[in-house]
């Protein structure tokens, strides 16, 4: 999200945009990463129960992630242009569940949306919070094809570290002390 952890509320949502999958791209992705006949060969795929070539579920997830990165970048640029300081997003520690409900086929146009479901302070990273969000993807017929319940780090704006935390954050910047602390 483009907001600071403190300003994000459960239920906040973000339209991530739409992406139309082409057969060419589906084949290109799958030849590299998910080389199965119903993902790579339109003729052989007819023998599968899908009746034709379909996108890899992981490809569908990757495209949704790309749209999210782009949307956040656009919003950040808009905020900076207005003189605001956007919040800072960190990496994702994981995905509780990712479901592939319907096949994504060539020429399908998939719309992605992100909804924040909950948040809490991170236990492992002082100054950061964890956001739990659901990404929902729907095809042009309005049918949901994909869902992902993803966690991500989000920086706190108003974080005041305790003296102990401040020492720890300073100490990890010094290699020797970092080694000692790990012991």
């Amino acid at each position: 999200m483009t907001m600071w952890f403190e300003d994000i509320n459960d239920g906040d949502s973000m339209e991530l945009g739409q992406y139309c999958f082409t057969q060419e791209e589906i084949i290109k992705y799958n030849k590299e990463y998910d080389n199965q006949y119903f993902h790579t060969d339109p003729e052989l795929a007819k023998y599968s129960h899908f009746g034709g070539i379909i996108a890899s579920g992981w490809h569908t997830a990757c495209v949704g992630h790309r749209l999210m990165v782009d949307e956040i970048k656009n919003r950040e640029e808009a905020m900076v242009a207005e003189g605001m300081i956007p919040g800072v997003s960190g990496p994702s520690p994981g995905i509780k569940k990712m479901t592939f409900m319907q096949a994504v086929r060539p020429e399908d146009c998939i719309s992605y949306k992100l909804i924040v479901t909950s948040k809490r302070a991170s236990a492992s990273l002082p100054g950061w919070g964890l956001l739990f969000s659901t990404i929902i993807a729907t095809n042009q017929k309005g049918k949901q094809v994909f869902q992902s319940d993803v966690a991500s780090f989000s920086k706190m704006r108003d974080f005041k570290p305790t003296i102990k935390q401040r020492f720890a954050m300073w100490a990890v910047k010094i290699p020797l002390l970092k080694k000692l602390m790990k012991k």
Binding site: Y33, Y47, W58, C62, H65, I95, M98, F100
Partner: protein
Amino acid sequence: MSNPITKDFLHFEDLHVGQQVDLGKTKVTKSMIKTFALEFDPLPFHIDEKAAKASLLGGIAASGYQTGAIAIKMALKNFPGTLASAGGMSITDLKWKRPVMANDIIGGTVTITLLKRARSKPQWGIVNLDFDIKNQKNQTVMIMTLNNLIDVRNPEIGLERHHDHVV
């Protein structure tokens, strides 16, 4: 009913719980990381050296989505035969435990942790594949469970034989 493409592939009956496949090794180079990130995850800490150094990860790291894509690729390549997959249903409990940094060599295992039949869909079974992806220091970088449908060779028999696992 029978699919000429998959007749020699590995079916439900050919698999067993506990079966483990070594995933081999893949070196994740800086150029692989940048190429993937430019397409699917163009965040500065995957692409830009300076931004990467200043980030939580401390250097150019692969997109978690790339680690997953490579994991699936290695599983397909290293399974002793082609799985008669009927499609993935879901992925659960995916954790990116450590970053995959440029030039890390990843490998690991995939283990079958569940095989079950469904009365409503006798032609398919469900197989759970647990991925444990490790780096060259033998540290786990990513785990996930893929719940996949797999063709049953003889749908008319076996629902009884596999009755322990029928849902």
